[in-house]
Symmetry: C2
Subunit: 353 residues, 2 copies
Amino acid sequence: MIKIEPPRLRASSDVPGGRRKQRVSMADVARLAGVSSQTVSRVANGSPGVVETTREQVLAAMSELGYRPNSAARSLRYGRFNTIGVILFGLSSIGNSRTVEAIATHAAAEGYAITLIPVGAPTQDNVLGAFTRMGELAVDGVILIIEVHLLDAAAVTLPPGAHVVVVDSDAGDRYPVVDTDQADGARQAVRHLLDLGHRTVWHLAGPAGSFSAERRASAWRQVLEEAGRPVPALERGDWSADSGYRAGLRLAGDPSCTAIFAANDQMALGVLRALHERGRRVPAEVSVVGFDDVADAGSYLPPLTTVHQDFAEVGRRCVDALLRQIHDEPTGPGTDLVATRLVIRASTAAPEV
Amino acid sequence: MIKIEPPRLRASSDVPGGRRKQRVSMADVARLAGVSSQTVSRVANGSPGVVETTREQVLAAMSELGYRPNSAARSLRYGRFNTIGVILFGLSSIGNSRTVEAIATHAAAEGYAITLIPVGAPTQDNVLGAFTRMGELAVDGVILIIEVHLLDAAAVTLPPGAHVVVVDSDAGDRYPVVDTDQADGARQAVRHLLDLGHRTVWHLAGPAGSFSAERRASAWRQVLEEAGRPVPALERGDWSADSGYRAGLRLAGDPSCTAIFAANDQMALGVLRALHERGRRVPAEVSVVGFDDVADAGSYLPPLTTVHQDFAEVGRRCVDALLRQIHDEPTGPGTDLVATRLVIRASTAAPEV
DNA sequence: GACGCTGATGTTTACGTAAACATTCTCGGG
DNA sequence: CCCGAGAATGTTTACGTAAACATCAGCGTC
């Protein structure tokens, strides 16, 4: 291990009142190294034209004083913050937190930090507030992980030149969108159940306001209609396992229901529990498919067949699209779809005859 | 009504290359309103001493030009960023994402934004890099949601005056710590099982490097020893449901094992699956307790008895402790423990006789 | 009616950095 | 032996904001 000499810091007592200078600036380093602050700047940025001996002196002074560049001054100078804002309702949904994680990781690799801007409840007012604050925030662009259609009116408050990418929502052709291919995922799920021989498929949808929920539901309906199958009444949950449980209890009472497509894995988990409690065996009597492929889905009872979403890829593409805008490369509104894939486990089977 | 001359906006074509000025500054507003930029500043900050008519003129000019304060300049001026950094390994763990969400929400309420600093793998090098970058980041303080003991050596690179709060880890008396009362939670879990009449309790611990895992395991051991019960060999997982499943398969083979305390809910889920596959009924033959009380725990089969962690409270206290440091209020190293509480559901029962 | 006080507003300056421009110095060629 | 090129380094300035200080007008007082 490398032994590091503790720097001789100005003690608080050096200055009456204990108010020691907080930051070490280039000027301090320059003074100690006996050069101009511009030379320090050149060393800090690796600019050419600094002779080796000078560079070493400066570096020594830097480490002695513990110099750290001041990012506020840098941002002011450059007019850029190297920061991306992420506006979201919450991290409680697994999809959100994994997307945010991917965004953070990929952004870090590109030299950008990310700032989280949580919006309390999905009300117009709150979103508007977040957008207003955003204008003052130290960010070069924003990724929206919210239901954008909630804020038609709020849109006017967006700074005109703002760089924006929208995830998993409808941007009404105003901004580029990165999205999981929800419709295709739902189609795969429903077709899988029909291919197994089920006459039709029930659907447990997400809440009415959600764009993802709507797209999954409409793809479900479309597949059934194209196949000429009856379309059962839609069940609705709120993404939670509890709501899935309640819907599951309702469906368990219908003996004709042999296949259920839940709009996310958590609701599917609730459905599994309800079916179990009602003594309906999965997959022998009822098949269940989820959506998301959360980490635990393979450990449900039984392991859940579900639609895998590549959240990491979504995060990566968001960052790429946003950086392209920030760097003035051509980008138009339009949707970039990330493929989904059906993961078949043990919760689906052919119906009993 | 005062007639306001329409602002002579620099059109893109004014400058070759279409590079129009990005931001509207106070000087622009001042020019349009016919006042000095200082007056604009006063209006922007609600300082007194601006006559009503002037204020209105300035406000009109602001909204006409779409003025937004430049936070880089503000930060430079004030020496503060109003931003908190959060260093973490990832958001994949439910605890982390819920803690981060609480931090973000509470920080926002206090006027602080939060910046996420993800650290790839928990290696010394990566953590060191994050700490180094942190020094250059636009943050006033940092919350560490990582295993701090990994970075004894890295500590030297922390800027001496840095404000730090550590979550769920051991700070070695260097920084204030906010933590769930892991030991007490584990004690409640084990005592609950003993109280039900189980002779002893098996423990499925988290990975060896984890401080949380160690504390839960040592509390488990302590309760058993105090009660004079035999201490079964420790099983180890990696927090994942899969690792819980594998451990569960091992334990299912031991008929004397009637009570299992898993160090988190995901591993408990895996244990439930393994027991189910091996035909051991829960809770009739084997009782299982988890830790965390994730949102889905009530929907497991059977609904899981588990230790509830108040992540929101942890997040709140982190932010409070950090802001206290930033505002120079007295804070010492020391651990602030957030209470846990056992949530009894359907996965535990008295052993069969 | 001159004095000074108060309130409204303007001017200067500093925050830390880095581009643009200026200065010094060295060294090779005529 | 002097000139000029180019390398190394220094000086000035601007980025946007806001504190500190300066100015100025109006008004009440003696």
